[in-house]
C-alpha cells in the first residue's frame, strides 16, 4: 500500500455513527476488537438524534398482554408480509432487552406510575409499546450510546466521508475517505466493515432527512458487488410541516397522533374514516400518507396544501410535557400555538425500507466481511415500516452486526490493498476540480424535482419510465460536475461525492418501482392498484454487473408453521 496516505488500521470499521453504528461499535468493542467509527458529521449529530416518538419493544409495562408475538405480528402486517420473517422475529424477541440495556447505560425514559418505563400508542401497534422520552427519544438514545462508546474507547473519525470500499480480492479490506475539514485523503484498513449510513431522503426535496442521507452505504455496497433488496419501498411520513416554505418537510412526530391528535380536512371532516375506519389516525404510515395526499389532490386540503392535525383538545400542560419539541417547533418556526389550534401537515420523504440485503442472524451482506445495519440494511420492515420500529431495529441489528463483524475479524488475517484502487478513488474524487462543467447544486435540484413528481407516493409506468430517462441523462451530466474553491471544507465539492450515491440509489428505487406491478405498503402504483399474489412472494434484487444495474426477482422464504399460526391469529388490532 502506498505510504503517502494517512492510514488507520482496525479490526472493525464502522461507517456511520447513528444508533446502528454506535450500537455495533459498542458490541464489537465488547468482543475485544479494535474499532474505528467514521462519520460525515460530528459525533452525536446523526439522524437518530431527530427520532422523536419512541422505541417499539414489547415490554408490557402499560399493556400487560403485549409480548414479542404480537409485536412480530404487527410488524409483519405493517410490512404487508414482505418482511424477512426471521428479522421480524429476532427484532420482536430482542428489542425489550436492548431497551433495558440502554437504561442500564444511563438513558432515562419517561416512567409509569409504578416506576417502570412508560410506553405509548403508535400507528399499527396493537398495544401501547413505544418507550419514549417526551418527543426526543432519539436524542436520549444517541447520547447514551455515544457516551458508552467513548468510555469504552472507540476511535471516532468525525467529519470524514467515505467514497469507496477497498477490496482484497473478493473480501472487503477497508475504505477510502477524505477529511471534510481539509480535503486530505485517508485510508482505513479493516478486516470487516459495517455500513450504518442511514437512508436516502435527500434525493427528494420534501424530506425530513438532513444533508447526510444520500444513500452512501447502499451505493458503496452496490459498487462493491453486494445485493440491494426491495429498493422501491420508500416511506413518506404522513406528517411533515407544510408551511412556511423553509420548513417544508420537517417532521411532525407520529406521537402527536399517538397522544390523541386528530386529522381533519378543510371541511372539518375526520377523513381517516374513509381510509381506515377501525384504526383512524393510528393506521399505518403508508395508509395515512396516501389519505392526506388524496384529500389534497381532491381539493379538500388546507390553505397550504396539507391536512389539519389537532391536539389542542388536550390540556395545554399535557401537550407541552409530552410534545415539547413540537410545541417549540411550531411556535418558533410557524407562529402556531399547537395547544390552541391545529397544525398543517403533509407527507414528507422519511425512511428507506429497502437497502443492503443482509442475513438475519449476522447482518452480513453478500460480500465477505461486509455488514449492514439500521436503515442502510433491508428486510425487517418489508413494504412499510411501523413507527418506533426503527430505533429498535438500530439496537437489535446494530448489536448483531457488531458481534458478527468482530467474530469475522478475529478469524481473518490483515487484508492487503493494492495501490491501483486507491489511485482510482483519488482521481475520481479530485476530478470536479479539474474540469469545466455544471454545479452539483443544479443537478441535485433537478434530481429532487423529478423524484418528487415521478417517483413519489403514487407511481405510474409512464412517470417511472420518464424518470428513468432523466436519470440516464443526469448520470451523463454528473460525469462532468465541476467545482471551484479549495479542498478546505468545501460543501460544493462534498455534494459532488454525495450526488454519485444519490444517483445510484435513485436509479435502484426507480428500476425496482417499475418492476413491481402491484401496490403494496409504501409502493402505490395507480396502474396496478391491488395486491398481486405473485409479487407478494418475491423480492426485487439489484446487483451491479459491469457498469449496468441488473434487477432480478427472487422468491421470499416460506414462514415456518408456528409463525404462520401467529399471523393467522386475529387477536388484537392490525390489518
Amino acid at each position: 500500500m502506498n505510504g503517502k496516505y494517512e492510514t488507520h488500521e482496525h479490526d472493525v470499521l464502522i461507517i456511520g455513527a447513528g444508533g446502528a453504528g454506535l450500537r455495533a461499535a459498542i458490541e464489537a468493542l465488547g468482543q475485544g476488537a479494535s474499532v474505528g467509527v467514521v462519520c460525515k458529521s460530528l459525533l452525536g449529530k446523526a439522524h437518530t438524534v431527530m427520532a422523536e416518538g419512541g422505541i417499539a419493544a414489547a415490554m408490557g409495562n402499560v399493556d400487560a398482554a403485549d409480548d414479542w408475538r404480537t409485536h412480530f405480528r404487527d410488524t409483519m402486517r405493517g410490512g404487508k408480509f414482505l418482511n424477512n420473517w426471521r428479522m421480524a422475529q429476532l427484532h420482536a424477541q430482542e428489542a425489550a432487552e436492548r431497551v433495558r440495556e440502554l437504561e442500564q447505560w444511563g438513558a432515562l425514559f419517561d416512567r409509569t406510575e409504578d416506576g417502570r418505563i412508560l410506553q405509548r400508542a403508535f400507528g399499527g401497534h396493537s398495544f401501547k409499546r413505544l418507550c419514549h422520552v417526551g418527543d426526543r427519544t432519539g436524542l436520549e438514545m444517541i447520547r447514551t450510546l455515544q457516551d458508552r462508546g467513548v468510555q469504552q474507547g472507540f476511535d471516532v473519525y468525525m467529519e470524514c466521508t467515505v467514497t469507496r470500499l477497498l477490496m482484497d480480492g473478493g473480501r472487503v479490506a477497508g475504505a477510502f475517505a477524505y477529511w471534510r475539514e481539509n480535503g486530505r485523503f485517508v485510508i482505513f484498513k479493516a478486516k470487516s466493515v459495517v455500513l450504518a449510513t442511514g437512508g436516502i431522503g435527500k434525493a427528494w426535496p420534501i424530506t425530513s432527512n438532513s444533508w447526510e442521507y444520500t444513500g452512501d452505504g447502499m451505493a458503496l455496497a452496490y459498487e462493491a458487488g453486494a445485493e440491494l433488496l426491495d429498493m422501491e419501498f420508500v416511506q413518506f411520513h404522513p406528517t411533515g410541516m407544510v408551511w412556511p416554505p423553509g420548513v417544508q418537510g420537517l417532521l411532525v412526530t407520529e406521537a402527536v397522533r399517538g397522544e390523541g391528535g386528530l386529522l381533519r380536512n378543510k371541511n372539518g371532516e375526520r377523513f381517516m374514516e374513509r381510509y381506515d375506519p377501525q384504526r383512524m389516525e393510528l393506521s399505518t404510515r403508508d395508509v395515512v400518507a396516501r389519505a392526506i395526499y388524496t384529500e389534497v389532490r381532491e381539493g379538500r386540503g388546507t390553505e397550504h396544501g396539507g391536512a389539519y392535525l389537532d391536539i389542542s383538545h388536550k390540556p395545554a400542560d399535557y401537550v407541552k410535557r409530552k410534545l415539547p419539541s413540537m410545541y417549540h417547533q411550531f411556535r418558533e418556526l410557524a407562529d402556531v400555538d399547537i395547544t390552541a389550534g391545529p397544525m398543517e401537515v403533509g407527507p414528507t420523504c422519511h425512511y428507506m425500507m429497502g437497502g443492503v440485503r443482509v442475513d438475519a442472524e449476522t447482518a452480513a451482506s453478500t460480500i465477505p466481511g461486509l455488514y449492514a445495519a439500521g436503515e442502510a440494511a433491508a428486510g425487517l420492515h418489508g413494504a412499510n415500516r411501523l413507527g418506533g420500529n426503527s430505533l429498535s431495529d438500530l439496537l437489535v441489528f446494530g448489536r448483531r452486526a457488531g458481534l458478527a463483524a468482530a467474530a469475522y475479524a478475529k478469524a481473518q488475517n490483515s487484508p492487503s490493498i493494492d495501490s491501483g484502487q486507491i489511485e482510482a478513488a483519488e482521481r475520481e474524487v479530485l476530478a470536479p476540480f479539474e474540469r469545466q462543467g455544471e454545479s452539483p447544486y443544479v443537478l441535485h435540484e433537478e434530481l429532487q424535482q423529478f423524484m418528487q413528481k415521478q417517483v413519489g407516493i403514487f407511481r405510474t409506468e409512464a412517470d417511472l419510465q420518464s424518470a428513468m430517462g432523466k436519470l440516464e441523462a443526469l448520470k451523463q451530466r454528473a460525469q462532468k460536475l465541476a467545482i471551484s474553491g479549495s479542498r478546505m471544507f468545501n460543501p460544493g465539492w462534498h455534494l459532488c461525492a454525495d450526488m454519485k450515491s444519490m444517483l445510484t440509489v435513485s436509479e435502484a428505487v426507480t428500476r425496482s418501482a417499475l418492476a413491481r406491478k402491484e401496490s403494496r405498503g409504501a409502493h402505490s402504483r395507480i396502474d396496478f392498484p391491488k395486491y398481486d399474489e405473485t409479487w407478494g412472494k418475491q423480492n426485487n434484487i439489484i446487483l451491479r454487473q459491469g457498469d449496468e444495474m441488473n434487477l432480478q426477482q427472487r422468491p421470499t422464504k416460506e414462514l415456518p408453521d408456528d409463525l404462520k399460526a401467529l399471523l393467522a391469529d386475529e387477536k388484537g388490532a392490525g390489518a
Binding site: 460530528l42 438532513s210 420537517l250 447544486y441
Partner: protein
C-alpha cells in the same frame, strides 16, 4: 420579495473578512435557509455546519448580529431587514473555515467524565418526579452556545482548567440520576474548575433548549463541592465515620 444583505465571515485560522451576499427573503425563512441560498447561487464553497435544520442536533451555531444563535431557529423576519445581517463563527473556538469552528476541545472534556455507574442491586424502578430534573439536563443538544458565551472561555481562554456550562449540565445529569453510585465532585472542583464560574447566567440566556443551566445545574453542583470540601461540620462527621469521598 425584499432582498436582504448578509455579511458572512469568509476566511480561515489565519485571516478573513466578511463578504456581502444578497438574498431574497421568503416567508418563514431562517438564517440557515439564507446561507443555503448563498451556497446554491453565489458561493458553493461557503462552509456551514448543519444537520437537522429543526433545532434538534445543535450543529448550526453562529453569531447572528452579535448574538450566538442556532441559525436554523433564527427567523429572518425577527432581524432588522433594513441593514445587513452579520453572521460570524463562534468566537470561543478556533475557525476552521468560514462559519465552521473547531469544537473538538468539547469532546476531549467529555472524555474526562466518569460514566453513569448504577448502584449495586437496583431494581430499576424510578419515579417520574425523581427524574424530571435530570431529564431537563438531558435535553442538551450540544450546540455549544453556552460554551461560546461563557466568560471563562470566551474572554479568559481557560480551556485547560475549565469544563464549561455544557459539561456542568452533563455532570449534573449524572450526579442527580437517582440510581447513580459514583461521585464526580472531586472532578468538578479539580479538573473541570467549577469554582471559576461566577454565575453570570450568560449560558442560561443563550440555551435554545431553555435549560436553566445556572440555577438548576451549576449552583447545586457548587453546593456539593462546598459540602464536600469546605463544610467543617460535614468534614468532621466524615472523619469520625471514616467515610470515603462520597458526597451523595
Amino acid at each position: 420579495m425584499a432582498d436582504v444583505v448578509l455579511k458572512v465571515f469568509r476566511g480561515d485560522r489565519e485571516s478573513g473578512a466578511t463578504a456581502d451576499y444578497k438574498v431574497p427573503v421568503a416567508p418563514g425563512m431562517v438564517v440557515l435557509d439564507a446561507l443555503h441560498y448563498v451556497q446554491k447561487t453565489q458561493a458553493p464553497d461557503l462552509a456551514v455546519r448543519w444537520n437537522c435544520k429543526a433545532g434538534k442536533c445543535g450543529s448550526c451555531s453562529a453569531e447572528v448580529n452579535g448574538r450566538p444563535r442556532l441559525t436554523c431557529k433564527t427567523r429572518m423576519d425577527s432581524l432588522p431587514q433594513d441593514k445587513p445581517i452579520t453572521i460570524l463563527p463562534l468566537k470561543s473556538f478556533p475557525v476552521i473555515k468560514d462559519l465552521v469552528t473547531d469544537v473538538s476541545w468539547n469532546y476531549k472534556v467529555n472524555k474526562k467524565i466518569p460514566p453513569f455507574t448504577p448502584r449495586a442491586g437496583t431494581d430499576w424502578r424510578m419515579q417520574q418526579a425523581d427524574i424530571d430534573r435530570v431529564q431537563e439536563f438531558r435535553k442538551c443538544i450540544e450546540c455549544f452556545l453556552c460554551q461560546n458565551v461563557c466568560h471563562v472561555l470566551r474572554d479568559h481562554d481557560k480551556h485547560e482548567k475549565f469544563g464549561g456550562p455544557r459539561f456542568f449540565v452533563r455532570v449534573a445529569g449524572l450526579e442527580m440520576h437517582p440510581l447513580d453510585g459514583v461521585s464526580r465532585v472531586g472532578l468538578l472542583k479539580n479538573e473541570l474548575g467549577l469554582g471559576l464560574c461566577n454565575i453570570t447566567k450568560c449560558c442560561t440566556e443563550v440555551c435554545p433548549e431553555e435549560i436553566r443551566i445556572t440555577d438548576n445545574a451549576i449552583i447545586p453542583l457548587k453546593e456539593r463541592v462546598v459540602d464536600e470540601y469546605y463544610d467543617p461540620i460535614l468534614r468532621l462527621v466524615r472523619k469520625i465515620r471514616g467515610a470515603g469521598s462520597s458526597a451523595k
